[in-house]
């Protein structure tokens, strides 16, 4: 329903007039009319009756009060669209700045390619894998690959001078590799929570900018800094030191095992986004690493 766009005191005045013409007893209605006439006469003669000032004063008071109350009338053309917690307290915005995207045209093409790869190849493969692999097995495989990246977490936590996180990563790797049968069981998880740290995060924490946005084939969204971080972390990834067959097999298994939740999120996003490319970019920016 379209609401009137009137100054609040006018709106109130009209409402009062309507009120006086419908619901007010005759005596009051007469008095109200008399006051209006007196105001009009005094306006003509250039004088103001005391009633005029009282009515104006009350209207002004009500106007001030209304300004603090939710109003039914739409005020989209005047209102500040920014969140009150960002504007009124002068706090820096919690929202991340968009990463520049000079390669947007190329990135969109890669995004469209990845989209088909995810939906028509990866998704059926992951669904099939999840159907034949019981959840406890998937969880153990996930634990195994998650344990392999603890050295990356450890080194980057040190680079970021986060002693507690480094201690966590070291402890988790030691306990899970031994008592957790090579990382298949997350026995350390109850006391030591995994805290992901990577070189992208390290660079961000040391003030390195994003560079620009890149969508890589198969890998998805990244940035110049993110790509550098990925390469650097690769030196600590044990998969990179295996025979090519073992490395490929391991990576494929990890991809099938870990992609399910992300694909489900992705499909939901595709269903509701008007521009999935921008929606995914915003997700990437929101997950920017240095807290």
């Amino acid at each position: 329903m379209i609401q009137p766009q009137l100054p609040m005191n006018w709106y109130l005045w009209i409402k009062l007039s309507e009120f006086s013409s419908t619901a007010v007893p005759k005596g009051l209605k007469k008095t109200f009319k008399k006051e209006q006439q007196a105001i009009q006469q005094s306006a003509k003669s250039g004088r103001r009756s005391s009633g005029y000032f009282v009515v104006c004063g009350l209207c002004f008071l009500i106007f001030l009060l209304l300004a603090e109350l939710p109003v039914a009338a739409r005020d989209w053309h005047e209102r500040d669209y920014r969140d009150p917690f960002e504007t009124e307290f002068d706090e820096p915005s919690e929202q991340p700045e968009p990463i520049s995207d000079p390669l947007e045209r190329l990135n969109r093409l890669t995004f469209a390619f990845n989209d088909r790869f995810y939906l028509y190849l990866l998704d059926p493969a992951v669904s099939g894998y999840e159907k034949i692999t019981p959840h406890p097995v998937r969880r153990s495989i996930g634990n195994f690959f998650s344990n392999l990246i603890e050295p990356v977490n450890f080194v980057n936590a040190l680079f970021q001078l986060e002693g507690s996180a480094a201690h966590n990563a070291f402890g988790r790797f030691l306990i899970n590799t031994t008592f957790g049968l090579g990382g298949l069981f997350d026995v350390a998880g109850e006391h030591l929570e995994q805290k992901p740290h990577d070189f992208n995060q390290t660079m961000a924490c040391w003030g390195v900018g994003d560079g620009f946005y890149i969508v890589w084939p198969f890998l998805g969204p990244s940035s110049l800094r993110g790509t550098g971080g990925m390469v650097a972390d690769g030196f600590l990834d044990p998969m990179n030191y295996q025979e090519i067959e073992v490395a490929t097999g391991g990576r494929t298994l990890n991809l099938l095992n870990s992609s399910g939740p992300y694909l489900r999120e992705y499909k939901q996003l595709e269903q509701f986004a008007l521009d999935p490319y921008i929606a995914v970019k915003d997700f990437y920016e929101s997950m920017q690493p240095c807290h």
Binding site: K15, L16, L28, F32, I62, S127, K131, P276
Partner: protein
């Protein structure tokens, strides 16, 4: 001289205005926990897998969404600076379509029908809010909290932020963030990108298309204005 009657009339009007003041009776964090419990009780009623298919459950959730979210405020904030360019008729259409889209997002997230499709053992046992911090500013409130839940058999702790606006009675949600990813902000960036190159009517058409299209496997470039990219 002003008659006593006129003063009484204005005084009554003044008092009536106070009755429309939003109900600040409930703390925003309590309101949120109450609403979460309400949603969980709907999902708990029957086995989740069968309830996913139940129209009654979906309808109940749609009603809750309408009750709990301020869709007009969400649309306004998602449009950002472009809100000022919209005519009243366009505003009506935008609010209506965006409400439908967001209600679908909300219901689908809760029922997790895609999780069912994948055959995962999706379940939510409980969601409890903890480490809650509330900031208030007049009729607005922002709640930072952590929700503990069980998803697909794993215990997860998720960082949440809710933005609320006082309503009569209680509160309404006009934005939320999950792990730093904000709903309204995400749509605002999409809208801005579309509106930088197209008209508001084009955005309305896109929203219509999205709301009417129930096929989640539709390729994105059939719906996204890729050809509009410079």
């Amino acid at each position: 001289m002003v008659s006593k009657r006129l003063i009484s009339l204005l005084f009554v009007a003044f008092l009536l205005l106070f009755t429309v003041e939003p109900g600040f009776t409930m703390a925003p964090e309590d309101y949120l926990q109450e609403k979460i419990d309400e949603v969980l009780s709907i999902l708990e009623d029957t086995d989740l897998m069968s309830s996913l298919k139940s129209d009654t459950v979906r309808e109940q959730l749609v009603d809750l969404a309408r009750e709990d979210f301020d869709f007009e405020e969400m649309t306004f904030r998602a449009l950002g600076p472009y809100a000022r360019q919209a005519t009243d008729e366009q505003i009506d259409q935008l609010v209506d379509l965006f409400s439908k889209l967001l209600t679908d997002v909300y219901v689908n997230r809760l029922t997790g029908d895609l999780a069912e499709e994948a055959g995962g053992d999706y379940q939510i046992v409980d969601i409890t809010l903890g480490d809650t911090q509330v900031t208030r500013d007049g009729r607005y409130a922002r709640v930072h909290t952590r929700a503990e839940m069980v998803l697909e058999g794993d215990r997860q702790v998720v960082r949440l932020m809710f933005s609320l606006i006082a309503a009569d009675p209680g509160w309404k949600i006009y934005d939320f963030e999950v792990e730093g990813i904000g709903l309204v902000q995400n749509y605002r960036r999409q809208f801005s990108n579309i509106l930088a190159r197209n008209s508001i009517d084009y955005l309305i058409d896109l929203l219509k298309q999205r709301v009417e299209d129930d096929d989640p496997t539709a390729a994105p470039d059939e719906l996204v204005p890729l050809d509009k990219v410079e």
